[in-house]
Amino acid sequence: MSTFLLNQIKTELIDAVGWDNVSTREPDLLAYSLDYYAAPQIWLDRGLPLQKPDFIVHPETVNQVSSLLKIASRHRFPVIPYSGGTGSQGGITPLYGGIIIDMKKMDRIVKIDEDSYVVTSQPGINGYRLEKELNKNGYTLGHYPASVYGATLGGYIAARGTGTLSTKYGKAEDMVISLEVVTPQGETIRTLPVPNHACGSSLLQLYVGSEGTLGIITEISMRIEPLPQVRKFNAYLFKDIKDGLEAGRRMMTEKRLRPNTIRLYDENSSDRIVKKVLGLDLNGCYMVVGSEGQEEFVALEMKLINQVCTELDGKELGPESGEHWWNHRYDFYFPPFNLMLPELTGTVETTATYDKIHNIYLMKKEAIEGGFKDWGARYIAHFSHWFPWGVMTYDRFIIPTPPDDPVEALQLHNSIWAKAARTSLEHGGILNDHHGIGFKLGWLMPEQYGKAWPTMQAIKDAIDPMGIMNPGKFGFIRRF
């Protein structure tokens, strides 16, 4: 793009949001080029130039967002919505440059509706701060992702996030009541005021999980929960993953329980990760289970959980072990305990129904450890988000010594990912449960959707005909 045109766009951006809210400073462009996506981190690690945006813009009102999108539309200039920067799939990577619109300054809680148990907030609010505000008023969002310290409410919705207690409270898409969205053309629209209706297809769920490819979310209403009267945990050790999975399945299906947590670590995770972080010396599969709510209800639920686990020879480790895990649940994801460079790692998680999940686990383990044996590939997994019909496996690969060459390292990373993802798809799983698609998995979307993919592309083309919204993501065709 010509220098004059870039300067013209900058003039218009400043006109829309003010001098202080537009940046072209080099450190800012670099800081906004990075999140948890491996590719730019590998590039930075090797001292290579990053793919940077042209502008960083910080709107403060919905009208400003609208103005920004009108400018971008008129110039057919890419727009990448950004808030917490905690994604791992390349969702914010500015592949074609463009404008990064950082939503953090739109962080106001609009209303807590205490009759309906609904909070309405702007999307830039930090997850931890939102939770603290709710707690002060006796509520919880019930959404406790490991990224809570950095992620925002907008990010929860845009990427269909999940949290530690999702088994009880659901994923972000289960909690959302309604949205305000600015379309790529700059129009501000609202979804219906309630999520359950018989008024046609769900516009709400169209935008949920759209990762900035269909518009920018500017206001969100979410279901909230009363703070639980009690929160209890227990822990068990199973001889193998199959028994552990069966215990979880029985809790969720036959007993129809709703524990706040069922977290089952496979042997490798129990032996390596749990030992490293929690200091527990375990030989088998470690499971933490919890319950929260009214005291009598929790006592009964914990009793039934114990009954299920002991029937399957789960060795009870006691509440202290479970509480210890709860108190350190996020430590797994932060230095020095997290898996990061120089190791090459990736979370290739998937979700499937109970009849398929064990096989998927075995197939992926074989695909990674067998398929990338020369690289010393390791596979670890835990099962952490349980539904009445199935469960998500949070499985990861680790290459202890990746190639020095960044291109080779990235190719290897992509190859393992593709192998893992295709194995999931082949055996009844999906590409992703809650980390999203972004750039990294976009190219596999047509494969996942098959004949339904043109429908997805048609929806994108109808809503964003110029393709300015987060281009290069989701596997959509480039239109601008």
């Binding site: 940046s23 400073r25 080099e26 450190p27 800012d28 670099l30 800081a31 906004y32 990075l34 948890y36 981190q41 930075l44 001292g47 290579l48 130039p49 990053l50 960083i56 910080h58 917490g84 920067g85 905690t86 950082d102 953090k104 300054k105 962080d107 830039g124 930090n126 931890y128 701060r129 990224s147 310290y149 950095g150 996020y330 430590d331 932060f334 230095p335 020095p336 305990f337 997290n338 990061m340 460079l341």
Partner: protein, 380 residues
């Protein structure tokens, strides 16, 4: 200097991959720009080392727009010392001649002068308080007090007199060098450390009671490492002195507050770096106040906004941080916001004024509260 090469590399690695302490960082909360978050700074420092960014004024602005209050390390599961990484990076900026203008001016001013406490000493003497030049105890003031501070310091001197503790104050008091350390001018920090240590040694004192929290941290954790000879001298923060006097009943509470509600601002340098969180709370209980803690408090308390030379480099951001802390004080509904550091006192006074909240607590230095409760006037 305070991180070796391995620690520095590990800290950069950890910070660039981690957003855990993002909510512990008030600067990021106010500025709302990734470059001003701990993770952003980690990535920027990494990029500087890899030659992907140039050392320039923009980098200096980012590295000086921080509080360096120890809260990030306290929050960190891996105990990585982000604050020391920033000071280390500031040192590199100093070496390259890239200090922000206001910081450069501050250092020039500090090099030209020592603190002249003659008016303070004169005022104390006029109040009938005895200063004993041959005492083995020295009170280190640590900055240029305002007239309001004179009264508070005089009350502390009076308390010591009341407890029959002899002390002296330097007419010409060299600086501790804490600002230089924070600003990355380690050479000047070293010169200042040696000078203050030599001055104290020449006074033949065995104990120094320190009024300012940052100076106390400097003396107890940095002066020796910067080459100051402080062998044989013990340093005590005044908050410990006060609590000891009350515990040993060398001063007695004759006019307790009878449940006056107060909240207390922990100075970062005192609570996090020196672990002094118990003594002020004991004092507040002893004098009869009812303490209502701010959220957060103690070792995880938020900074008042005066850390890391922020009020010098970015005063507006510092004030915004002070206002946020004041709002946390409002939430306690306490009648008084109590400070134990003149820096916090000044910053929070500005915050309260800017907030202009009719329900705002009154602000009081802990010395003033204690002095009132033991009815010092009768003894002077």
């Amino acid at each position: 200097m305070f991180l070796n090469d391995e620690e520095r590399s590990e800290t950069i690695w950890a910070c660039r991959f981690c957003m855990m302490c993002q909510v512990a960082d008030r600067v990021g909360e106010v500025v709302m720009n990734e470059s001003y978050t701990p993770r952003g700074r980690g990535a920027i420092i990494c990029a500087l080392e890899k030659g992907l960014l140039k050392w320039d004024e923009e980098i200096a602005d980012i590295m000086f727009t921080t509080l360096n209050d120890g809260r990030l390390q306290k929050w960190c599961v891996g105990n990585y010392d982000h604050e020391e990484l920033i000071i280390d990076t500031r040192e590199k900026l100093f070496q390259k001649g890239l200090l922000p203008e206001r910081i450069r001016q501050l250092f020039l001013e500090e090099k030209r002068k020592t603190f002249n406490h003659e008016p303070l000493i004169s005022m104390i003497k006029k109040s009938g308080i005895t200063i004993n030049k041959s005492s083995e105890i020295l009170i280190y003031i640590g900055y240029n007090p305002t007239l309001e501070n004179y009264n508070t310091i005089a009350k502390f001197a009076n308390i010591l007199n009341f407890a029959n503790i002899q002390f002296k104050i330097l007419f010409e008091e060299p600086i501790s060098g804490h600002d230089y350390y924070q600003g990355g001018d380690f050479e000047s920090a070293s010169i200042a450390s040696k000078k203050i240590a030599e001055t104290i040694q020449n006074e033949n004192v065995s104990k120094v009671i320190v009024l300012e929290a940052d100076c106390y941290r400097m003396f107890t954790t940095r002066t020796k490492r910067f080459g100051g000879n402080i062998a044989g001298i013990s340093f005590e923060h005044f908050i410990v002195t006060l609590n000891n006097l009350l515990e040993k009943k060398l001063i007695r509470v004759t006019k307790p507050y009878d449940g006056l509600t107060v909240t207390y601002q922990d100075p970062c340098m005192l609570a996090r770096y020196c672990g002094l969180t118990v003594d002020p709370r004991k004092i507040l209980t002893t004098i009869g106040t009812k303490l209502i803690e701010m959220d957060p408090s103690g070792k995880t308390a938020f900074c008042c906004g005066s850390g890391g030379l922020l009020p010098i480099h970015q005063p507006d951001i510092a004030i915004e941080i002070a206002r946020k802390r004041c709002r946390e004080a409002f939430e306690t509904r306490a009648e008084y916001l109590v400070t134990a550091c003149f820096g916090c006192h000044k910053m929070l006074s500005v915050g309260l004024e800017k907030e202009n909240n009719p329900d705002s607590p009154k602000i009081s230095h802990i010395i003033d509260l204690v002095a009132e409760s033991i009815e010092l006037k009768k003894t002077v």
